[in-house]
Amino acid sequence: MNEKTSTLIVRYLILGSWAIFCLLPILWFVSIAIRPRVEIITPTPIYFPTFSLEAWKMVWNDWPMLNYLRNSVVSIFGSVVIDLVLAIPAAYALARFNFRGRDDIAFYILSTRMMAPAIVAVPIFFLFKNLGLLDSVWALMLVYAAINLSIVTWIIRSYMLDVPKELEDAARTDGAGDFRILFEIIIPAVLPGIITASVIALIFAINEFLFTLLIASTPRAYTMSVALANFTGGSDGVIYNAIAVVSLVAFIPVFLVVLLIQNHLSRGLTMGAVKG
């Protein structure tokens, strides 16, 4: 065995064991989703359960799952639309114009990403309480938009910085104004960036927990993420197989959109700082 094969073996051994470490909890959770409730918490764990769709029926029949799903979809998509409307002009200005305070404004936008939700949780709670928006998807939409605005702006700005100036200059000599350049040249050129930003915003919105917990205090405004935390049927304890079902159902769309933007994922996650 030469040196090359032995390094290859070490490499795949290490990468393979990490892949298994990633997959095993997921597979086990899948097995939770398709077993009857009596086989979840047992004196010794059962690794190969009897097949049962009990949890799927329960989730479908006993809980207003479609409501939660609708709340999630409306609040998340609405927030992404708000973000794009606000972020695209802002990113355009930050990437393409020289003006006083530009870098400070860019850094201020970035720094809102660093704010812990817990810091602003109490005031935001009272803000929505006074506006009479507690327990509504509108409040969730506004909060998700705020959380993601910095990310979306920075990602789109990073893609705009890559658009060659020559394209723009050519259009300008043809007499195109700033808005026409934005809509006819810049936006088409940074479409991958806009999609990446939307997907990242979508994932963070699905994952958001603390604000959703505070704002959506009754099932009327529950989203998938918070509905999960409330699947603790009182004296029944935690209904794990139902939780597993909902987690897996929520996982699938995220998985699909991430497949779509795989090659842009690291750039999106670092708000444009790492290309590749």
């Binding site: 390094t7 997959l23 939770i32 002009p89 870098d103 860019a106 109490v122 605005l149 935690v238 987690s247």
Partner: protein, 293 residues
């Protein structure tokens, strides 16, 4: 002439008009709450009207061992978790970044990251505590004789949270490191290889130093998210046992929304805000702004 001057005026204002909506939106959601929290932190706020108490909340906070404990727990669990994630992600990236075959399977390494954090919290709550899978596996390989009492041990509860965090978020660092390494010029590595340098020598002496800015960005982002750890604490440990896993986010949540001691919670928020601003100025600015010009 006046028309021309006015249009120049508009031209100067134009970029400000473009950023204004976004900035105003963010100010409502950061500056307003910030001012509100500062104002509230000087008051005792229970259910009724605010009553001014001056610095009392802060004085109480500084002698509150639960507050210091929460800061310490956040720092302790965060730094352990971040170090483990960094080490694993860098090792994996080292083996994966020039491997064509792995590229197709990359998505497997990302899967934990794509679950909702609340779902991950339940996976680990079930595995460690309720279904005792971890105890069972350790007994099967003969490391322990009886079920672990995870819920009553501070360090085991902390380990649970750390393992869940490592499992879910190592992929985040991994994918960023791989992207950073892959974007480096392959020819430099090739030239070094032709000069007889070994793979690990190339990595330590060429690739890793070049990766430094990327590492800084990734660690800053991950570090910030770790210090705001809330979901897993809320679902799995509720801060226990004996406040041993209570993070600063959970402390604020508990004083505010469990005990309705809003003035006190706001004082803790203000302290956290100040810490955040310091870190943002010192580290974040360096990672994101100066490194790129």
């Amino acid at each position: 002439m006046p028309i021309k001057r006015r249009s120049r005026r508009i031209k100067q204002l134009f970029p400000y008009l473009l950023v204004a909506p976004a900035v105003l939106y963010l100010l409502t959601i950061t500056l307003y709450p910030g001012v509100y929290a500062i104002a509230q932190s000087f008051h005792a706020v229970k259910f009724g009207p605010w009553s001014f108490v001056g610095l009392e909340n802060y004085a109480e906070l500084f002698s509150d061992y639960q507050f210091w404990g929460a800061l310490w727990n956040t720092f302790l669990m965060g730094s352990i978790s971040l170090s483990i994630q960094f080490f694993i992600a860098l090792t994996l990236a080292y083996f994966a970044y020039r491997d064509v075959w792995i590229k197709g399977w990359r998505i497997i390494f990302l899967m934990p990251m794509l679950f909702m954090p609340s779902a991950v919290a339940f996976i680990y709550k079930l595995a460690f505590q309720d279904a005792r899978v971890i105890s069972d596996l350790l007994m099967k390989v003969g490391l322990i004789d009886s079920n672990l009492a995870i819920q009553s041990s501070i360090w085991m509860s902390r380990s649970l949270l750390i393992v869940a965090d490592v499992w879910q978020w190592t992929p985040f660092l991994f994918i960023i490191f791989v992207a950073g390494l892959q974007s480096q010029d392959e020819e430099i590595e090739e030239a070094a290889r032709l000069d007889g340098a070994k793979w690990h020598q190339i990595f330590w002496n060429i690739s890793l130093p070049l990766l430094k800015p990327v590492i800084l960005v990734a660690l800053v982002l991950r570090g910030i998210d770790i210090t705001t750890m809330f979901t897993n604490v809320f679902i799995v440990t509720k801060g226990g046992p004996a406040f041993g896993t209570e993070t600063i986010s959970y402390f604020i949540y508990r004083t505010g929304f469990k005990f309705f001691n809003f003035g006190y919670a706001s004082a803790a928020s203000v302290i956290m805000l100040i810490l955040t601003l310091i870190v943002a100025q010192l580290v974040v600015k360096r990672a994101f702004v100066s490194g790129r010009e």
